[in-house]
Point group: C2
Chain length 296, copies 2
């Protein structure tokens, strides 16, 4: 599975997920939506910012493929779009020209938001590395600073769920560290890893392989794993990397972004519907792939 296959996979389905786009007054979210509409992978309802949407000539040619709900301003649009998702009128929420914090305020609103009490919200990214034969998922480069064992278990559950929906029957999840040694004194999270691995072995997450601690290299490079004499069922073929904290996750995210030919797609999971937070700095493809990922 690569990103092109992912887009084809989404396009080939009979049903289209409906994306609610909050205040799409900016060209970069309009572009991404227009491309997704052109490829026919989703349906779209724009919430607010009619004036700016109608000015976009590409969206005008696609006007039979989207609808519009009025809103007075960006914050209002966020609330309305969230309500639409709550009530089943849309299955994906997408950020337009609105501050991320303001959008998340509506998403996380205790009474009218999208995150049921007790649910964990985390950030999941998929990437295509030139040297790797499949999509690689990872979490969390952006939301949870230092996951608790409960939050980490949910991260594992989410990535396994996504991999499975993409046809991976036994997803391989690597729990990341700088070595393969459990070290309670300096790195207590490596002890948490052992419990998580035991839970996975007992079937808590269904069919899957969860192992660690492992470093980034050995997780995705079978030869490096053999050279180091490590024996793991991950076997250098991880489908997903779970980072111990937001810093190491973010370093991975930002480092791969330095290399040409690397694409990523990202979303927030945990809320009732996935949330796409594309930003100005993202490439056209990243935006498109993020919409596709959130629609699987």
């Amino acid at each position: 599975m690569d990103f092109k296959t992912l887009v084809e996979h989404v396009a080939a389905r009979a049903e289209r997920k409906r994306v609610a786009v909050v205040w799409a007054a900016d060209l970069h979210s309009q572009e991404a939506v227009a491309e997704a509409l052109r490829l026919g992978i989703v349906e779209v309802v724009f919430v607010g910012a009619r004036e700016w949407i109608e000015k976009n000539p590409v969206l005008a040619t696609l006007s039979d493929k989207w609808t519009y709900v009025d809103a007075a301003n960006a914050d209002d649009a966020a609330k309305l779009a969230v309500r639409l998702c709550r009530e089943g009128g849309a299955e994906v929420l997408m950020k337009g020209l609105i501050n991320t914090d303001n959008l998340l305020k509506a998403v996380l609103d205790k009474e009218n938001g999208l995150l049921p009490k007790g649910r964990v919200m985390t950030h999941i990214t998929a990437t295509s590395l030139p040297v790797y034969k499949k999509l690689l998922f990872f979490t969390d480069p952006a939301v949870i600073p230092y996951p608790t064992p409960v939050q980490r278990a949910e991260q594992v559950r989410y990535v396994i769920d996504i991999c499975r929906r993409l046809g991976v029957e036994e997803p391989k999840v690597s729990l990341i560290h700088c070595t393969e040694k459990v070290n309670e004194k300096h790195f207590p999270f490596t002890v948490d890893y052992t419990y998580l691995i035991a839970d996975a072995a007992e079937g808590k997450f269904g069919s899957c392989i969860v192992d660690g601690p492992l470093d980034v290299k050995t997780s995705v490079d079978a030869e490096a794993m053999r050279t180091k004499g490590i024996n793991s069922k991950i076997d250098g073929e991880a489908d997903a990397l779970v980072f111990p904290d937001i810093i190491s996750g973010n370093v991975f995210y930002k480092t791969i972004s330095l290399f040409p030919g690397v694409e990523t797609a990202a979303m927030l999971v945990g809320p009732q519907v996935p949330v796409v937070l594309t930003s100005r700095g993202d490439s056209m493809l990243t935006k498109l792939y993020s919409i596709a990922l959130a629609s699987i």
Copy 2:
């Protein structure tokens, strides 16, 4: 400055540093040393493992360029090589076929070792990224789990010192995090960063620019820095990245190693002489560049 220039730079000097190689019974350390001798960038004294060294036909043709000191076994060789360095008989220590922990035991020995009391030992790596126009140094992917403010100040001092010896008059050091925001509650080290930056501004490290927190991408990508509206004298042109902990440093190290065309060189600094720890998995060039880096 790139790695080729680094090697030329070392080769062009009148003096040659002397490298003590501990128990070079393995082909991979022999190869690296042979290449360094062939290029004439160092002098070499092998400590122990004569039988294996004499079997190497390439080293035989270079026999006028190296000397030999006898040792009964690898651990003995480590002790002898360390003594040689203490007494000024060698300016670089290099690992052969000996367990890293055993070599470090000799280096860190309180009475006869190479690390004066109170000195901080840390791991410094240099890398050439295809998209970046200069060598990028970073610390610490391998030795100090969570640097204290004092240890971090020494890391900054060491990388600045190396950059300066390579001709960078005002080294730019980026203190890494996942955002550019100081956050005392979740990330107390970002507060430590502010003190370190103040010390640098007061001239504690000589002419240099130290700034942060900054993420990996904005540290080395001026356009990304501008897109995010960040105002920093690093200006997307960092000479060195200082990571908050060993995990994030290691993730950077391992992630760049996944990409073709990326070379690295590494050494331990802090001991009386730099220590080169090349390993079987390293490429020929990584080994050679590490010897060159330790010899500047």
